[in-house]
């Protein structure tokens, strides 16, 4: 167990910059997820932490030890790959014991540890089988047992569930989290799957083009996106580009006024913007309400539009509403999703200022 610190690590492949001056602190026992689309540099970053790739620049620390120039075999890490990568010619028990046997530990001690690990991942009677005789999920659990057997300082996961089917993914991600909690190991987990990241992380690092866009908890990332990239990458979002015209109120009542086309929108005022700054104001589809006249609730922002399409998705229905030539997505649930099915034409949309987040347009 140890902390992990990345100090502006960079990786170049010829002219291509895969990771660009990335710094990150992971606390002891923390579960941090690197989340981003393919090619954003998350796997490269993880492989640099493991020592499988050498950084072009920057340093990597485990606790206060600089491990940048230490080969993977001496870093004492547990790396779980996208494929289980179990040695196909060795039995499950020999796979789990491999890391101990190369360290010259006695056979009896290895056997005891292997049994302990097999019990831990719920595969107690599978020691003698060959990897090919296990299902994909069982193989990945053996891979997990194999890395835990050596008692590593840091657990590293490179999309370990991406090759499995959905049901298995759902159950296995909680197994991973549970094992990490029980062993108290520091973990860095790479995925492109948001629901996976949201389900298991202490903190999420959203990455894009070799850089960190935002680091935060699930609610930080979802409710307070710092950049248009995060707002658009996480979940569905409606972006309304505009210009900051002013600011009013204090504390929770602070509002930022944004002129978007012909309308003035009122955004949550947590962030500092200067007048005239170009921003995109984001509102989530589930935060917008359809106003049917009967409701007496007042909304700070009200837009009028025309229903373009209604997509019934079961528990919710998705509305595509055209507002000033821009299409907004509105998610409705409950009875409203049924009544709206038969309706088209003009609707009024209401949403509160606290749900409208302004993010600066990147230069």
């Amino acid at each position: 167990m140890s902390t992990v610190r990345l100090e502006s690590i960079t990786k170049h492949y010829g002219q291509t910059v895969a990771v660009d001056g990335l710094s990150l602190d992971v606390a002891d026992g923390e579960f941090v997820t690197l989340l981003g689309p393919s090619g954003c540099g998350k796997t490269t970053t993880l492989r640099m932490v493991a020592g499988l790739i050498e950084p072009t620049d920057g340093r990597i620390f485990f606790d206060d030890q600089d491990v940048t120039d230490i080969p993977p075999r001496k870093r004492n890490i547990g790396f779980v790959f996208q494929t289980p990568a179990l040695f196909p010619h060795l039995s499950v028990a020999d796979n789990i014991g491999f890391g101990l046997s190369v360290k010259g530990i006695s056979k009896a001690a290895i056997a005891a540890r292997v049994d302990e690990m097999l019990a831990m991942v719920g595969l107690a009677s599978y020691g003698r089988r060959l990897p090919a005789q296990l299902s994909g999920g069982q193989q990945q659990r053996v891979a997990l047992a194999r890395v835990l057997a050596t008692d590593p300082r840091v657990l590293l996961f490179d999309e370990p569930l991406s090759a499995l089917d959905k049901n298995l993914r759902d159950s296995l991600k909680y197994s991973i989290l549970e094992l990490q909690r029980r062993t108290g190991k520091t973990a860095i987990y790479v995925t492109h799957d948001q629901s996976e990241a949201f389900a298991i992380s202490d903190r999420i690092v959203v990455m894009n083009a070799g850089r960190i866009e935002q680091i935060g908890t699930q609610t930080d990332i979802y409710l307070h996106p710092r950049t248009p990239y995060v707002a658009e990458f996480i979940g569905a979002n409606n972006g309304l580009p505009g210009t900051v015209t002013g600011r009013e109120g204090d504390g929770d009542d602070a509002r930022i006024l944004v002129q978007a086309g012909t309308r003035e929108l009122r955004c949550r005022g947590r962030d500092e913007f200067g007048a005239g700054e170009a921003v995109i104001a984001y509102v989530r589809p589930e935060d917008i309400e359809i106003l049917d006249g009967a409701s007496d609730r007042q909304f700070e922002n009200v837009l009028e539009g025309t229903i373009d399409r209604v997509i019934f998705e079961g528990p919710t229905a998705q509305l595509r509403v055209e507002v000033d030539g821009r299409e907004l997505r509105v998610d409705v649930s409950g009875n409203q999703r049924l009544t709206l099915m038969q309706r088209d034409g003009r609707v009024r949309l209401g949403f509160d200022a606290v749900t409208l987040i302004a993010a600066p347009v990147p230069a």
Binding site: R73, Q82, A85, P88, H89, V102, A132, T150
Partner: protein, 288 residues
Amino acid sequence: MTASTASSDTSAVRAPGPRSIVGRRRLTSRRMVDVVSHGYIWLCLFVFVTPFLALLAYSFTGPGGTYAIENFQYVLGSFGENLWWSLRISGLSIAIDLAIALPAAYAIVRYPVPGKRLIFSVLSLPLYVPGAVIGLSLVITYNFTYHLTTSMWGLVFGMVVGTFPLMLTPIIVALKDLPIAFEEAAECLGASRWTTFWRIVFPLIGPGVSAGLMLAFIIVFNEYLVTLFVHPSEITTAPLRIFNLVRTAGLLPTTAALAVTMQLISFASVLLFFRVFGTRYFKGTYLI
């Protein structure tokens, strides 16, 4: 076979009505194709196997056309030494082949060697060069540089030069097919490169290694042309003995028996290969 059963099923369903005639006609034409294609395969087999059968029959003829197992006893008595030389030369050659090919293949596949393709083409050259040319170049090299013509090692070296690419190519293919994740996993678990190679990589490229061993063994075991050029006077391998005997004494039944023995050894090594590696070992190997 499945095709013909399938068509007979459909014709049975269509039995009543005028359509059945069409069905039956289609069935007969299918059967014709079956008969012709099977016949063709058997004909080919017959053509290819006939010379060997003729040799086998001839190896059993005694003086005056009688049946004689003595020919084979004679092989072990008189040609025993030649067979033993052949086996020793083959064994040494493939051992050296393997010792060179394993690190070479690993370097070519796993490291960014500049001019990889050129190196590989040059290394495969002996496959495309006639045996006589290899033999001649070896003779010249030995005479002017190393004077290896008087020892067994000159012969072994010649065989290694000729068969090295046969060992290298299947190992390269096996290594390329082996996902690098296995090596990375072993390294992350604390294994050194040496341990990783012998405990993980080598067993997993077993099929490639054994294919190389088999190919190189059969070629060296049966090689006579290069041997003719570089063999020291006291060493006569089995193929060379057959060649010499046929040249000086014509084809004797005892010589035929030696030839059949050699064939059986080659055949047995191929069978062994397919028995051990061709089936069971391939399955369950890298299944990820």
